[in-house]
Symmetry: C2
Subunit: 435 residues, 2 copies
Amino acid sequence: MNIRFYHAKILILKKEKEFSILEGELWIKGNKIVYIGDGSDTKRIYEDMDIPYIRWDREIDAKGNVLMPGFKNAHTHTAMTFLRSYADDLPLQEWLQKKVFPMEAKLTHEDIYELCRLGILEYLTSGITTGFDMYIDPVAIAKASKDCGFRMMQTSGLNDFTQSLEAVEEQFYQINEMSDLTGFVLGFHAEYTTGKKLLEGVANLAQKLKSPVWLHNAETKKEVEECKNRYGKTPTELTDALGMYAYGGGGYHCIYFEDKDFEIYKNKGLTAVTCPASNLKLASGIAFVHHFLQDGISMAIGTDGAASNNCLDMFREMFLVSGLAKVQGKDASLVSAEEVLYMATTGGARAMGLDACDSLAEGKLADLIMVDLQQPNMQPENNFVKNIVYSGSKQNVLLTMIDGKILYEKQKFDIGIDPKEVYEKANAIIRRMTK
Amino acid sequence: MNIRFYHAKILILKKEKEFSILEGELWIKGNKIVYIGDGSDTKRIYEDMDIPYIRWDREIDAKGNVLMPGFKNAHTHTAMTFLRSYADDLPLQEWLQKKVFPMEAKLTHEDIYELCRLGILEYLTSGITTGFDMYIDPVAIAKASKDCGFRMMQTSGLNDFTQSLEAVEEQFYQINEMSDLTGFVLGFHAEYTTGKKLLEGVANLAQKLKSPVWLHNAETKKEVEECKNRYGKTPTELTDALGMYAYGGGGYHCIYFEDKDFEIYKNKGLTAVTCPASNLKLASGIAFVHHFLQDGISMAIGTDGAASNNCLDMFREMFLVSGLAKVQGKDASLVSAEEVLYMATTGGARAMGLDACDSLAEGKLADLIMVDLQQPNMQPENNFVKNIVYSGSKQNVLLTMIDGKILYEKQKFDIGIDPKEVYEKANAIIRRMTK
């Protein structure tokens, strides 16, 4: 599709963590942004592309609303939608052992495909254009994402109890070759579920496949203490010592980090993905976001799965990242809206190796959203970025576009299936499991 | 208006902090709920009212969606919408002294009226049907609320620098008599802005008017320490010793509470209003919500003003109340969704003395909202209350009704003015002030 947006306020990444607004037009040809400007210099575009004109499939009057990069959900378990509000307000271990694990054991390949579609619908309402998923059946997730038109990077949830190195290597090839929308890098669930032999296997495979490595890292204090008891090292030290980070990667949650962990992340160029809502709801703790940023460590934001959060909403996460840092550091000036928006867009894309959709610029992939300013929570227009980060909500998402295709517009979805059918299937799955 | 909802899931307060869902109909005659039931026992309604039929102005198919009491925003400064995203990410004192106070000094009566309308539009999108406001010009707030059809309770922001006891007494009469939608109880800004003489005056006036008394209480550590230095008492002890609570009342924020403060709140039946988003963003701290609840102290939830929050959204506040309590107490079972929903609805109404709209029941005022379950964030339907509290968003608010009138439906407002005009006026006000 060739789509021209006009009368738009376009959020441009001026330089690292600094945004500016350009009033004008944004053109999409196929799946790429080919022009951003005030409309006075469009001739060069035709000359560059050596074409006389673009035949527009749609010309959209943005009516002064904001076009910005879609949010990148840098840690999630999309298919866990089936456990949303199924077992809340329980102590962590009881929740995990008695409620989550037994239900996950009942999941089929088809279930995961269906439940992933439900999660994708929710992402679209929140302006999320890419997920970074870790779950039981990555091929089902990749298929569902491709079929919906959703861009999904994945990492492996490998551990001693599920899958094998061989299966993971096969998934690596299969998912990276499946579609331009799907990708896969190495990972494992967490140190506490993965023995040393398997960890060494992951490190070797990362070398072979030249892949980054990801894991749940320092989500709870207990996890770090047990790792130190086992190895005399934190999970970060251990995985680094095993040579896992030759091609980068990072960790999810990263709450109980020690000085040497920050040091390793800094020196190896790793990324810390913070999941504030999940960390509150499971009483895990509050990550030292300000410390990471001060050290110049790359950061991104994730919703985690719907079983712990319970919604997949980047607006809520963004407010939390800043608000929690401020209260934790007892300083209202810590972690600005601009830093948070950068993490939620550019930071997330780069964490996944998707620099091609890390911002709105000519030549980048057309993964973008339109934010409605004609809503009371966006008025007055004192500061667009602060309005979006501190006051924005899913209600402000007018349109979500991935790879040049509009998948969500004015609360209507276009993912090849009626949402009602997706809801019915999700309800049928949980009914079957609990009967 | 006489309105009949059918095919509804109606959220009923079964007993304290326990909700149940009744599938059926809810009838409104004028401004009151006259029937809730499955539709099989409606004959008694006509007999009770001694009428042969009700002529319906509208019959609304709820399509299986949830009808529930509107949210009660128990602490706010509605007109502060003009400072939304105007001065964020600054240290608290700089924000207050250099940004907020100088701008507030420029506000006119008309400004406050207009800015209050902007806040009310936002409340409606979030399903908030009542506010408990404290601001500079309560009469302007009351007028705007009445004109919009919004139910607004207020308390005085009296302090040594603005207003007088005489003015407050006059406001008490004027606002309580203005409309069924407007009410006013005594209050003062905070101990640190109000000298002892004036505090004694408030206590005397409370006796004379038989009014509860409200104040910002223990929002910061500094505030409590300074009060103890001045009086050898916490703000709670001081105000209690002055005899302020003969007719009840309570405090906003209530973060730095000491054992004796909890004791006083418990013994005097006072209410603690927590404002978690504002408390994070201004780095004030985290209230001990679990401690209040454990002591059986009444609680309610407020957004605070848009200058500190920056949005007026009860969904965000609800998630935070539970999430922050869990992480603070290192226990994921603390402060359940049911407790939070009770605080956000019944608790808030009772804090304001508005028992007539504290729940959905026959005879109660028709202040209610319809929540859209046909959205991905509400699926599957494992638990309605947990879905609403942990996963709900403004996008799920299909309809907001106050006093029997639908003021917001499918993203359209009916408050007697085009929202665009409200936005333009708010922008003009801030432009005039900053020019």
